[in-house]
């Protein structure tokens, strides 16, 4: 069996196909931002997570530092338990705040970490104690209406 020009064309086709897959994975998809090797897990409890989804981003000072791995309802505390995967390069103090924020007025929700002042750092598997739940638009409007009604009396 000898090589033919046909083999060359088929080879080119297969190489181009796999190159396209690589472009899809790295340039279009988020495979390049996955960094599964050097990460650690943190937990946080929120009374209301609003529209937060798994794979949502975790930011500190606007920089992407991790992703939400899992969201479940803790049936002992009746609060949402959010498991986060954070890049190992970034260490946070024990009294760090975790807030659920919204990018833009109607954008998707993410977790913002605001570091505190304590010396000791959070270790893998630790829980972030200070959390702030998502802002629910309906609550905001009803608060506003109540205060308006009180003012007019």
């Amino acid at each position: 069996m000898k090589r033919t020009t046909l083999d060359l064309w088929v080879g080119l086709f297969v190489v181009a196909g796999f190159a396209a897959l690589t472009v899809l994975a790295l340039k279009v998809g988020n495979l390049s931002t996955y960094n599964t090797s050097d990460t650690y897990q943190l937990q946080a409890y929120f009374s209301n997570i609003g529209g937060l989804k798994s794979q949502a981003s975790i930011k500190s000072s606007g920089v992407l530092i991790g992703r939400v791995a899992q969201i479940s309802l803790d049936s002992d505390r009746y609060e949402a338990k959010v498991t986060m995967i954070v890049d190992k390069r970034y260490q946070f103090p024990k009294d760090t705040f975790a807030n659920i924020l919204t990018s833009g007025l109607l954008g998707e929700q993410y977790i913002g970490l605001i570091p505190g002042g304590e010396e000791a750092f959070l270790k893998a598997g630790d829980e972030i104690k200070h959390t702030q739940s998502a802002v629910v638009l309906e609550d905001l409007i009803s608060k506003f209406l109540y205060s308006k009604a009180e003012d007019s009396q």
Binding site: V14, A20, V28, G29, L31
Partner: protein, 261 residues
């Protein structure tokens, strides 16, 4: 009169069920003789050239234009809500999840599937298949299985190329022509498209479509009445049935894969 109509209806239903059973046995036979055809891989390479490489032009050009249209239409709609920066994620998600697999498979069915049916059907009509069987060459292993695997290998590769060309077309229209910010185009795209959830699921879709299209095309050719009319009817049925099968399977697969988080 009524009895006659009932009889022809019953005949049709029985015939359809019969053909489905025959097609399933045909599919099993393809899988059974795949080992033999993998040992002679040059046969598969020859068929990849005939169905995959020769479909490249139509796939690449169609992908480019679909992406350009998506860029244009997406921009017009997103502009109303002031979120033009989401154009990249709109173009990439619709291509990777739906349009890439479905359109590439539809094009493959009409470009290569119809050719497969006509070729096999004509071979049968001119008794080449019987001649092979007489020479103790198994036509399933020599003719059908290599074409099946060529199609199954080609369709996902063509789908990936289609999606990349589409993203490039969307980029051309959105960023180069209209002037959406390049950074937000790519970063929104990367933030919106998940590798496991979107790209791998799209590839699984296109693999399933590849199996469906090639099995339908080969079966219609193998089962075609050995006349000129029979072959032409079988070619038409290939395009119609595989298009319907692609769209139906797409609905089923989408319902399983993307049922919200």
């Amino acid at each position: 009169m009524i009895v006659e109509n009932l009889r022809s209806l019953g005949h049709r239903i029985v015939n359809t069920v019969w053909r489905i059973g025959y097609a399933s046995r045909f599919f099993m036979l393809i899988l059974l003789y795949s080992g033999t055809s993998f040992r002679r891989f040059h046969l598969i390479i020859k068929e990849i050239f005939a169905s995959g490489v020769m479909s490249l032009i139509i796939i690449l050009v169609a992908g480019l234009f679909v992406g350009m249209v998506l860029g244009l239409q997406g921009y017009e709609t997103l502009k109303r809500y002031g979120s033009e920066s989401a154009l990249g994620s709109l173009v990439a998600l619709s291509l990777v999840r739906e349009l890439g697999p479905v359109l590439a498979a539809l094009l493959f069915a009409s470009r290569a599937g119809s050719a497969m049916t006509a070729e096999i059907g004509l071979m049968k009509a001119t008794e080449q298949i019987s001649a092979m069987a007489l020479m103790a060459i198994n036509p399933m292993a020599r003719l059908v299985a290599p074409r099946f695997w060529a199609g199954v290998i080609s369709v996902p590769l063509l789908t990936a190329l289609f999606s990349v060309m589409g993203v490039f077309g969307g980029y051309m229209v959105g960023v180069v022509l209209i002037g959406v910010d390049q950074g937000s185009f790519w970063s929104q795209m990367q933030a919106g498209v998940d590798f496991r959830y979107d790209i791998v699921n799209g590839m699984i879709k296109s693999f399933v479509f590849g199996v469906a299209v090639t099995v339908i095309a080969l079966f219609e050719g193998y089962d075609a009445p050995p006349t000129a009319e029979g072959v032409s009817g079988a070619t038409t049925r290939t395009v119609v049935q595989s298009s319907l099968a692609i769209l139906f399977l797409d609905f089923i697969l989408t319902a399983f894969m993307f049922q919200g988080e």
